[in-house]
């Protein structure tokens, strides 16, 4: 089976999961107590106005038919109308997507940049002082609440030192790079412990492998040995771990976006929950779900690309 078939197969398997997600999302959201009409009308709420909005939004229909409507619209790429903004949900959501994507990718890059050197330092001298020092990092890091880390980082690097902006997304590529550094770093600090552990473990395995001795006996110089032989093999299991955890992290961006006022879909989600803006919440949750599945797919593909022993007929 070729790679294309593999990818196609995995994408197809996305469908039942996506449908399941939509079902759960839909019925979950409609459990949210409180009436969006009332919330939005606020002071001007009168029973007639509320009933009118309900009719407009289809909220007075039975749940199942609302679901069908939702799915039907979805099939046409329509995510409904934002109850709060009154505009179509899809462009609203997609417009807010780039900052979140920036955050995720930036965080992944930073996490790798932190983890690879640390894991290398640890694995190359197992049980030495530096190994133990590096091993403490995940032990501490796993227990750090990310929002707490974010707050402290803001205080240290944006208020005391003013190296970075307190919040926001910035303008232009380098603006984004600058403004998103602290939020991405916060997420990276949450990611790094697990990646360090995984990478250290797999490096130790690789370093003890026969083929490294073979390479040494060939007289391969240290740097080439490390890059082409050790690291090249060690990243394989670590990629899977990174992928799984990015999946978890995508949800965590919700909190980070909140702290750093990043205008991404996480912010949109939280606000929409509070505003009971059902269609947007549905849409964003769906997007999150798709993102998670895509990230996992990407991790699987990378794994297969990196490891020629993996066959595609699974």
């Amino acid at each position: 089976m070729g790679r294309m078939t593999f990818v196609a197969r995995r994408l197809v398997m996305l469908v039942p999961v996506a449908i399941g997600v939509t079902i759960v999302v839909f019925f979950l959201i409609h459990l949210i107590p409180g009436d969006p009409a009332r919330t939005i009308l606020g002071v001007h709420a009168t029973p007639q106005r509320i009933a009118l909005l309900h009719k407009q939004w289809g909220l007075n229909r039975p749940l199942v038919s609302q679901y069908w409507l939702f799915m039907d619209r979805l099939a046409h790429g329509n995510l409904g109308q934002s109850l709060f903004y009154g505009t179509p949900a899809r462009p609203l959501i997609l417009g807010r997507l780039p900052p979140t994507l920036w955050l995720i990718v930036y965080a992944a890059v930073l996490a790798i940049a932190i983890s690879v050197p640390l894991a290398t330092i640890a694995a190359t001298r197992k049980d030495a002082v530096r190994d133990h020092l590096v091993r403490v990092v995940p032990l501490l890091g796993l227990g750090m609440p990310p929002f707490w880390v974010g707050i402290l980082l803001i205080d240290a690097l944006a208020i005391h030192v003013r190296a970075f902006p307190v919040s926001g997304y910035g303008n232009g590529f380098f603006g984004h790079l600058h403004a998103m550094f602290l939020p991405a770093l916060t997420v990276a600090i949450a990611l790094a412990p697990v990646v360090i552990r995984a990478l250290r473990a797999s490096m130790l395995n690789v370093l003890g492998a026969e083929y490294i001795t073979t390479a040494r006996s060939k007289g391969v110089p240290a740097r080439r040995l490390f890059l082409r032989h050790v690291l090249r093999n060690a990243v394989i299991p670590a990629v899977t771990v990174l992928g799984i955890n990015i999946g978890f992290l995508i949800g965590g961006t919700v909190i980070i976006e909140n702290i750093f006022a990043v205008p991404g879909i996480g912010q949109l989600m939280i606000n929409s929950i509070f505003r009971r803006d059902f269609p947007v919440v549905q849409g964003v949750t769906l997007v999150f779900g798709v993102l998670v599945v895509l990230v996992n797919l990407l991790a699987d593909l990378s794994y297969a690309a990196l490891d020629p022993r993996v066959r595609f007929d699974r």
């Binding site: 999961v17 796993l142 750090m144 609440p145 929002f147 707490w148 707050i151 978890f248 919700v254 909190i255």
Partner: protein
Amino acid sequence: MSAISFPEPAVAVEVSEHAQPRPRRWYRQPSLASGAILLAIIVFAAVAAPLLTPYNPIKQNLSGNASLLGPSAHHLLGTDQLGRDTFTRLLYGLRMDLRIAFIAVLAPFCIGVVLGSIAGYFGGWVDSVLMRLVDIVVAFPFYVLIIALVFVLGPGQRSIYIAITLVGWVSYARIIRGEVLVAKRQEYVLAARSAGLSAVRIMARHLLPNVITQAIIYAMSDIVQDILAIVALGYFGLGVQPPTADLGSMINDGQNFLTTHWQLTTFPGLAVVVVGLSLSLIGDGLADLIRPGQS
């Protein structure tokens, strides 16, 4: 935010010798021992909070000279903006959050282990259905789900338990399923089946004791994750409700005074870090114990 705790490697030195390796006592493992001791200290501090501090964590003291005091002999960590002793609130908050986290992990553990065993043992369509269910739950970002659920169910402890249970069973199910898939091919299972034991009996009395260690090890990191979630919810006002002391809401309260009274925000976070440290040490130590190798 991260969920997977990757176990430590087992790299054995290749020496073909006849010396007897020393028996593996749990207290000889440095990580397990230090983690256990640390946790014991923390739990003691939390449980004995009323004994350790004379102050009331909830009672406000709004008289002018009592709020926002710095650390002193009377108030180890000073007071917050409502005149409450920070150290006291720290201990009580720790108590509350720890209790919730430890209880919250039980239901997902049990449900996940049972479902995972069933899926792994019977295989076939039962397994497929369960794994699809797992995929669906996993596709939801953990925090989004927790926040949404707590929001739906209303803030407070009960919602936290329900939300964590609905979402948290997944990892246990996966782990146990994986272990059972391997274990059910072992000799002792075949022996039990040929002796005519029922599936339930085999699963409960033969498989489970052997595969449960991985789940227990994972539980350690899961508790840490739960604490983080509880604290995060507290920060957003969705968790333990004021005026009850809670580490998350303490962090939120202290945020406004970060530049002047950094201890208000920093110490609750540090408390969580230390708890995380102790549990991770225990988890690592347990993993080392059951696996031949060096810690």
